[in-house]
Subunit: 286 residues, 2 copies
């Protein structure tokens, strides 16, 4: 059971160099990194630290949002990602642009934009990764809101692009098993992000849970990923003001323990999730 | 173009009797009503007002959440809905119960529970309505998060149960057209709720938009509904602290105007939605 730490989980209290050192101290050998954090640290310092600690890079975050000038900056970003040895680069489509309503026209636009990025990515030698985001972010931060939609996009564009499964975004989808298997058959399962969905969720962006604190059937999804042929690690990506406030090293240790409990060969019992409030069904709107 | 007003859109500043009078004054002949508001007004007062104003009842809200004692109260509620002449009664499944993770087991439980309710509903002569809710409410307030899931449930249970399409919950779904057509072919399209999705959405329950203020392609969805054979009205259901704070009669007039602009035979231009903030793509988490 390999663990990958995504810097976003720790970045509020650990800059890139601290983050890499903390990973190394805990025996975590693979990380996902962010371009803006590299810039803060300096490319050569960041590269040297990765090399000195013997760390591998899984995902590079990220290309997007796809505003009118996105393509001008994309080539340099993709080259940097390749230079850092990243396995894949995340595409962050962003939401609708002026004049768009619904997702149909926006998806056509994004398919065209990703196609252009893919030509560059193939040339510089890095894979592109589509991560479908939760429908609550549709139109605002993404136009790809399901594994189905991500797979359709990959089918249309051919080799060099794949899908990252983040449980937070797709756990509710009745098509999940079928679509993970479809992704696996196409040889394009690039990553597996773990975290949890809390009851209730207080913020659409910054209230993700630690694995085991929420209602996602994480073990069941991991088993589907393995059956679909995924051999990569469990990437811990938790956007959470609660966890950001805590000591990064401690958060790493809790995450490692939870992964062992939930995904280990002989899973230990984990705490049953608690609801944050008991009155979740009492609010009137539906 | 018939309009149906749902009392929930106005209830913060209009009790049931005021609501019915305001509808009547604006020529709206069909309403959807709530059991708790009937109780506040008194059943006989509420019935008399409906009769005096010549109003028809579309939906009765609602049966649920499906807590352990739901069935004991359900028969009386269904009888009351039939007594009020409601076309259909909403099922509000509520979220997970103790020991459930993910949605698979919960859906099996809910199918069993709805099956028991359906026996009662058939006996008292009222239809049950499943309204799939947005996946951001999955596990917390519902276990039915797509039209696909709602249709599958109806297929399993047979006659006397149908689906209400609320654009807020399903607009993002690439399966929407196919699933609305499937619902129509099965003769189980019971209602069509309109409102809008705002950018950004500030609250998962109480920040719906007035039609035209958001990013949903309302006209396109309405055209699908008509092609699928739906002949009912446009039901205005807006859970919104912003709109609840305004004068209910004024909100009705704005809603009527917007429906005319968007859904009329010769739609007038509507305002392009504005984003509430310009920085919607700048927040880091994805």
């Amino acid at each position: 059971m390999n663990i990958v730490f995504n810097h976003a989980t720790f970045r509020e209290r650990a800059d890139m160099l601290s983050f890499l050192r903390l990973c190394r101290e805990r025996g975590v050998g693979t990380v996902s990194i962010w371009g803006d954090e590299i810039t803060k640290t300096g490319d050569s310092n960041a590269l040297a630290a990765l090399r000195d600690h013997g760390l591998k890079v899984s995902g590079y975050n990220r290309i997007g949002p796809f505003l009118p000038d996105y393509l001008g900056r994309a080539e340099a970003e993709l080259e940097r990602a390749a230079h850092f040895g990243a396995d894949h680069v995340f595409l962050f489509t962003g939401g609708l642009v002026e004049g768009e309503r619904g997702l149909i026209a926006a998806k056509r636009r994004v398919e065209d934009q990703v196609g252009r990025l893919l030509e560059i990515a193939r040339r510089v030698g890095v894979k592109l990764a589509i991560e479908p985001l939760h429908p609550m972010l549709a139109g605002e931060r993404t136009v790809i809101t399901s594994m189905t939609s991500a797979n359709d996009l990959c089918d249309a564009l051919g080799h060099g692009i794949g899908v990252v499964v983040d449980v937070y975004h797709v756990w509710w989808d009745e098509r999940l098993e079928a679509e993970i298997m479809r992704t696996g058959r196409a040889g394009r399962l690039l990553g597996f992000h773990v975290n949890d969905w809390l009851l209730p969720t207080r913020h659409r962006l910054t209230d993700r849970g630690m694995m085991g604190d929420g209602i996602i059937d994480l073990k069941a999804i991991e088993e589907i990923m393995r059956r679909a042929g995924f051999r990569g690690g469990l990437e811990v990506e938790i956007f959470s003001t609660d966890w950001w406030a805590r000591d990064p090293g401690e958060v790493m240790e809790i995450a490692i323990t939870r992964c062992r409990q939930i995904f280990g060969d002989r899973p230990e019992a984990t705490n049953t999730y608690r609801r944050r409030f008991e009155d979740r069904n009492s609010i009137r709107p539906s």
